[in-house]
Amino acid sequence: MIRLINTILLTIFLSSCQGKNSASREIWIYTSLYKDTIAKLLPMLKRKFPDVDFKFYQAGSEEIAAKVNAEILTNNLKADVLISSDRFWYEELADNKALSPIPEDVWRKIPNDLRHPKKSYVTLSLPVMVLCYNSDTVDKSLVPENFKDLSHPKYNNLFSTGSPLASGTNFTTMAMLQYNYGWDYFKKLKLNKTIAQGGNSSVLRRIQSSERPIGWVLLENVLRFQKKDPRLKIIYPKDGVVTNNNVLALTNKEFSHPKLDEFVRFMFSKNGQELMTDSFMYSPLQEIAAPVGAPSLDFILKNSFPWSRKFISRTTVDRLDLKEEYSSIMFQ
């Protein structure tokens, strides 16, 4: 009897755990890139690297951060490549020596303020947080001009954002607005019954369905849908858009795949970068044009909240406290 049970359990166990042979061909990419971007990237990678099996785990940036932290804690790190939008978490990983260096030639191509000084990460693309509204349901008098406007009581029940506990771009935006406007701003958003839930996709869905017809959301999400849904209107806030860094890093694993550097080079090649702009994100490389329907990168950089080393260091150190404080205000 026990032999029968053992055989069944062993069969299940072996078939549900990954074999070493397949693992040696695999490169695991944990990313917050959208599923349709991954769907376009995958065939390109298959053509370029026929002998590598690329596997993707897609989730919100903060979900990925939580997952990777847990994997590191339990000595089970599976990810080879990380691509997500919480730059502060990458700073933390770099401080903890959990990242391998980016190839020198790629690192040199990236502007100084978009890369880690010790080559731990580079910015793959620049998602931009803007405001968006549904022109069918938002009266012209209610169209906000900047982020600050949304704390006004007239935006009661009209506004939504993603959750900084789930999405890296929402965390960055929260951190930037808190740095500039303080917690009072968020207390007022809470009084306006702002929904802060899920990622940017759920914010866009709330705008489309008019559940919350105004939201802060990534420019790429709106541009993807504007043709299909012309009711979606973009506002470039006068107090500044929030530029995010979609960061690429390599994890520091005992066994690192020999093709990892080549993969990084591909992502910063013309093809790789054009895929980012096809997905409506800006490229950090000057020679790559802005996404279709989007203003130039110069315009965005001139009209964005400034990033400073002080802001990066403070947010990196206080990352968990910021999340706790935000939760205690917004999730009450």
Partner: protein, 555 residues
């Protein structure tokens, strides 16, 4: 009691012991992890105080009690008269109505949450557009209780329908012959007799509500209503070791709650068992309503429409919309299904994983359940009664807590072996959670079979394995099939445990649906399309079970 060879006896002992360890070890690790909580390097006491004094935590505890209590009360208020009407009033299609009102039992509640967001979100829901703004708000305590009730009332309905079958209807008939009205008979005769079933199933609804994750995450969180399960999820997503320890600490509240409820339930069953079963009359006498029956039919139709039809139709509408929130023929498309099935690689992976997990876990649980039941019912092994009570502990533990405990117990790398990020670990969680279903169902069946059958086979020289294959399997086949489906169905669309254990390549239908709804699906049609496919699959399975079992099993 059967006499077993030493080898067989040790084998059975070993299997039982392995199951005990799988069921109990996670709790030890959970306690250990809680004790390692060390916020700001100020030690355990400070950390405990900090977590428990946090206003969000306090509110989550209060909310959990309040919402679970309200859901139980409303489920009783709704299900009790419904069960009585379906069982005691002469209405056409009563069997069909019973099936239809039982359907929400098989559908995962988070599918209902997605549907009710479409219908009753404060400014854009389909119903909101009809009744006007500021009337309906699904993101409220009332909304949360309503959606939970619209699923969990089935626990009470099914229990009461069973109870009503066992009550001697001549008692009610005698009251009616003495001149009591139908309503008076219901309140004075049926209700007191059903009271033990009501109390016991209401406690089950309380526990299920406190343990639920999908509905509170999708409906409660946007409205700022956090329950213990969503607070635990939030702590885990903070991404720090202390976050995981704080989550472990909160888990103990749910464990204590589960122990309390199960203990009360057992006490109630002990005290009331004699009054429930009064013998069975040969024919259930039903109340004839004459022309008034049409009103009852209309009432049932309206109730069913609100509870099931409307939400399901709203999901269908959403799955067929090019752009969410626009209602026109030109906006209709099948593209969402095409995109989901053909362009999203995770869809096939999730179907494969869900089928793989649910089939293998159901099969192993039933096999192990058969062996454990044998130990309990047919052997004199010391401590045999534990095989029934120990699997009840994880079954009564909320999924979020169990998943966390299993992650802490079996997630760490042991030498070259790591179960973290494997389907095996998710399978272990499902197995531990649902083993109790198999043990209870099969051992109840085994008790009804006379021991002389097995004694004859032993006298004929049949080995233990031969007896299992040739005697127990055929005799218990209907019960084994029933236990298999009881485990297969919840595993197929499980979300609560899987969301904490999932990883790359491990998507299941439950987690894919949650991801689509929350993060990865900008168009919004993907989540609705997946809900539709899930509902169709569940209804299809139910139909097959009913056909195959000739109406004995299924809803």
């Amino acid at each position: 009691m059967m006499t077993l060879s030493k080898k067989n006896k040790y084998s059975l002992l070993l299997i039982s012991l392995a199951c005990f360890i799988a069921c109990l070890y996670p709790y030890i690790r959970l306690a250990e992890n809680t004790l390692s909580l060390n916020l700001e390097d100020k030690g355990l006491l400070f950390s405990l105080q900090r977590v428990l004094n946090n206003s969000l935590t306090k509110k989550a505890i209060t909310n959990t009690f309040l919402i679970s209590l309200l859901t139980s009360v409303f489920s009783v208020i709704f299900a009790t008269p419904l069960a009585w009407v379906l069982s005691r009033v002469e209405i056409r299609f009563s069997k069909k109505w019973t099936t239809l009102f039982s359907l929400p039992y098989a559908i995962p509640p988070f599918v209902g949450a997605i549907a009710w967001i479409n219908l009753a979100s404060p400014s854009s829901g389909l119903l909101t557009k009809i009744v006007g703004e500021n009337v309906l708000d699904i993101y409220s305590v009332a909304g949360l209780v309503f959606v939970l009730t619209s699923f969990f009332y089935t626990y009470i309905l099914l229990s009461l329908l069973g109870g009503l079958k066992n009550i001697d209807s001549s008692l009610e008939e005698a009251a009616r012959l003495s001149g009591a009205s139908g309503i008076r008979v219901f309140f004075d005769i049926s209700l007191p007799l059903l009271w033990p079933n009501i109390k016991s199933s209401a406690l089950l609804v309380f526990l299920a509500s406190a343990a639920s994750f999908g509905v509170p995450a999708l409906i409660g969180s946007p409205g700022g209503i956090y329950l213990l399960t969503t607070r635990i999820y939030m702590f885990q997503k903070m991404g720090s070791l202390n976050g995981i320890s704080a989550a472990s600490l909160l888990s103990f509240f749910l464990i204590f709650l589960a122990i309390l409820i199960v203990t009360i339930q057992q006490l109630l069953n002990k005290n009331n068992i004699a009054s429930v079963v009064q013998g069975k009359s040969s024919r259930i006498s039903k109340i004839s309503l004459g022309k008034k029956e049409n009103f009852v039919q209309l009432g049932l139709f309206l109730l069913f429409s609100i509870l099931f039809l409307m939400p399901v139709l709203s999901i269908f509408a959403s799955s067929l919309s090019k752009v969410q929130g626009v209602f026109s023929f030109s906006n209709l498309t099948l593209g969402n299904f095409g995109h989901l099935i053909f362009e999203m690689p995770e869809f096939l992976t999730s179907v494969k994983n869900s089928l793989y997990l649910s089939i293998s876990v159901a099969s192993i649980s039933v096999l192990i359940g058969l062996i454990l039941s044998y130990v309990e019912v047919r052997t004199n092994i010391f401590g045999r009664s534990l095989v029934r009570s120990i699997p009840t502990i994880p079954f009564s533990t909320p999924g979020t807590v169990l998943a966390l405990a299993i992650l802490l117990s079996f997630g760490r790398r042991m030498g070259n072996i790591s179960l973290y990020n494997t389907l095996f670990l998710i399978g272990v969680a499902y197995f531990v959670k649902y083993l109790s279903f198999a043990v209870r169902t099969i051992s109840d069946g085994m008790r009804q079979i006379d021991k002389s059958l097995e004694e004859s086979s032993v006298l004929c020289g049949a080995t233990f394995i031969r007896r299992l294959i040739d005697l127990w399997f055929p005799i218990l086949r209907p019960i084994i099939i029933s236990a298999w489906f009881l485990i297969f169905m919840p595993c197929f669309s499980e979300l609560t445990m899987t969301i904490l254990l999932t990883g790359p390549g491990l998507e299941t239908l439950g987690t894919l649906l949650f991801q689509l709804q929350e993060y990865g699906d900008s168009g919004g049609g993907g989540a609705a399309s997946l809900c539709v496919l899930l509902i169709i699959f569940i209804l299809l399975i139910n139909f097959i079970i009913k056909k195959v079992s000739k109406g004995s099993y299924g809803l």
